[in-house]
């Protein structure tokens, strides 16, 4: 698809997102905080309303019409996710509360797999959610917490992994795409190193799923997780894919209803997958509505989304470079639409405040990646991140507002 056709296609999409059609501080909203959360298309919003209007019932138990209908809708999202991720079995899809919840679940159920002196690996680029739970697990089990360093250019030092990551490694957890920088990491390479070492491989795909297709079989990892809300879906819902034989072997995470087979005063036996890991009433409306996000992404096509976002990224990057005193982090070719930068002598929070006054929503600060910023010798950045519904006009308004802010602050 040529760029003009692509622009046209994406511009049409914008109408499906009602939140974008409003003014903030008297200016048209320019939403560039998509790495934090994406806006939701009308069909997702409608699905939530429809669920509470027509289908509300607790799933998997009641023997009545509504319970059966909502269960069917709930489970059809699981099937759609298995297809989306190319999972071998639909029961490998576990619904959690989000990516943070998924990592906490994994770091808990893998606890008995780790022994004193084993190594748990992450990278210096991780979001705190994929860093702290592993660090705490290592401390608890007297294991060694290690990390793959990040280069000043914002990439993994993969040679370090080749040299240092060996048979002592028990768990290797890393992000597919950096939330702070947008770097697309060479995950296949690291999976190979980690698998060769005999470690469990956990991929945090939170920043990847909205931009390119995922095939967990081809990735050859053991666990892959992401959040629905970063893929045009509802908040409070995480997806965890895990290899069936591992999820069957590992212990439950939370105990309660739904996840049991039989409970008696003498003891309890646990349910099969996926219910073993889904204790309690889940976020039913989010799961059902997420099916609409999955169809949305499939229909639009992630390749087109990524191509469009990449075009916006490159346009914005070129214009930022023309501003005096600009530092762009990870100015790489292999990136998603995340633009992380600082202006010499200006605090990122000040830029964020003044952009907000002009209707531009960006993120400022450390983006929950403090080790990454420590490596880059600063404490945070301004981050503009693009989604499929952003337009070249958004980029223009952003650059204009940024120049105005910088003039005021200098």
């Amino acid at each position: 698809m040529d760029n003009v056709t692509l622009q046209h296609k994406m511009k049409e999409l914008r109408n499906q997102f009602p939140t974008l059609n409003q003014t903030v501080n008297g200016r048209p909203l320019v939403y560039l905080d998509n790495a934090a959360t994406t806006q939701k298309p009308q069909r997702v919003i409608d699905s939530i309303t429809e669920y509470y209007t027509k289908w509300n019932a607790n799933i998997h138990r009641g023997a009545h019409f509504l319970a059966n209908a909502s269960t069917e809708k709930f489970e059809s999202t699981r099937t759609a996710l298995a297809e989306m991720l190319h999972a071998n079995f639909r029961e490998e899809i576990i619904f959690t509360q989000g990516s943070t919840d998924s990592v906490n679940m994994l770091s808990t159920i893998l606890e008995n797999e780790v022994e004193e002196g084993d190594e748990i690996w992450v990278t210096e680029m991780e979001h705190h959610a994929n860093f702290v739970p592993w660090q705490v697990l290592a401390e608890k089990k007297k294991a060694v917490f290690r990390y793959i360093p990040m280069t000043p250019s914002g990439e993994w030092d993969i040679d370090y992994a080749k040299k240092e990551l060996g048979s002592k490694a028990k768990i290797v957890a890393f992000n597919y795409v950096s939330n702070a920088l947008g770097t697309i990491n060479p995950v296949e390479e690291l999976v190979a190193i980690a698998k060769n070492a005999g470690a469990y491989v956990v991929i945090d795909g939170a920043q990847a799923v909205a931009h390119f297709d995922i095939n967990v079989q081809a990735l050859n990892c053991d666990f892959f997780l992401f959040s629905a809300h970063k893929m045009y879906g509802p908040t409070g819902l995480g997806i965890l894919w895990g290899r069936k034989e591992l999820l069957e072997k590992l212990p439950p995470y939370r105990y309660g209803g739904e996840m049991i087979r039989k409970v008696s005063v003498r003891g309890t036996t646990f349910n099969d997958l996926p219910f073993k890991y889904e204790a309690g009433t889940p976020n039913i409306e989010a799961v059902i509505a997420f099916n609409e996000s999955i169809s949305f992404c499939k229909e639009v096509g992630r390749a087109d989304m990524h191509a469009h976002e990449y075009f916006l990224l490159k346009t914005a990057t070129e214009q930022l470079k023309a501003i005096d005193g600009m530092t762009i982090y990870a100015d790489l070719e292999n990136k998603v639409g995340v633009l992380s930068f600082n202006m010499e002598g200006i605090h990122s929070a000040d830029i964020g405040t003044l952009l907000d006054q002009q209707g531009i929503a960006v993120r400022t600060g450390h983006h929950c990646t403090q080790p990454l910023w420590e490596k880059l010798g600063t404490t945070g950045s301004v981050r503009a991140s693009f989604a499929c519904y952003n337009t070249p006009e958004d980029v223009e308004l952003f650059i204009e507002a940024l120049k105005k802010s910088v003039n005021m602050l200098r």
Binding site: A349, T364, H366, M408
Partner: protein, 142 residues
């Protein structure tokens, strides 16, 4: 006195019709404030702040009033800090503890002080009240 100082700030800001002028004034206040030296900007004076940092120093004057000095690494926060300091400075611990701080909302810069965790202002006001409590206890024991 604290109330009067707040009213003066509110009147001052009422002149600005455009957001830009309001912020330009805040930035100016931030630039003008003496602030703290780099040696003083240590962790023991750091009140908090997720994005921008705020440092606060307090001394009890001989005449029974409190002297505050503060700083921030972000210029807009620095300007807001200057306003907060100007309101509380040279008041007695009792007056500080009795004060109802509302000017932030009234000048339309911070919609809700208690929710502005990110810029450290809420933590700063809390710390000011803590200092006042401690100083008041000291005064009573003397």
């Amino acid at each position: 006195m604290i109330e009067q100082k707040q009213q003066e700030i509110i009147e001052e800001f009422a002149f600005f019709e455009e957001w830009m002028h309001k912020y330009e004034h805040i930035i100016e206040l931030g630039k003008e404030m003496k602030g703290l030296s780099d040696e003083e900007k240590k962790d023991d004076l750091l009140v908090a702040g997720c994005q921008s940092k705020v440092w606060l120093k307090a001394n009890l004057n001989e005449n029974g009033t409190v002297h505050f000095e503060a700083d921030s690494d972000a210029i807009i926060t620095r300007g807001l800090v200057a306003l907060v300091v100007s309101v509380f400075n040279h008041e007695t611990p009792q007056e500080i503890l009795n004060a109802n701080i509302h000017f932030m909302n009234d000048i339309g810069l911070v919609s809700n002080l208690s929710q502005t965790r990110s810029n450290g202002l809420a933590a700063m006001v809390k710390q000011i009240l803590l200092y006042a409590t401690v100083f008041q206890a000291q005064q009573k024991s003397n």
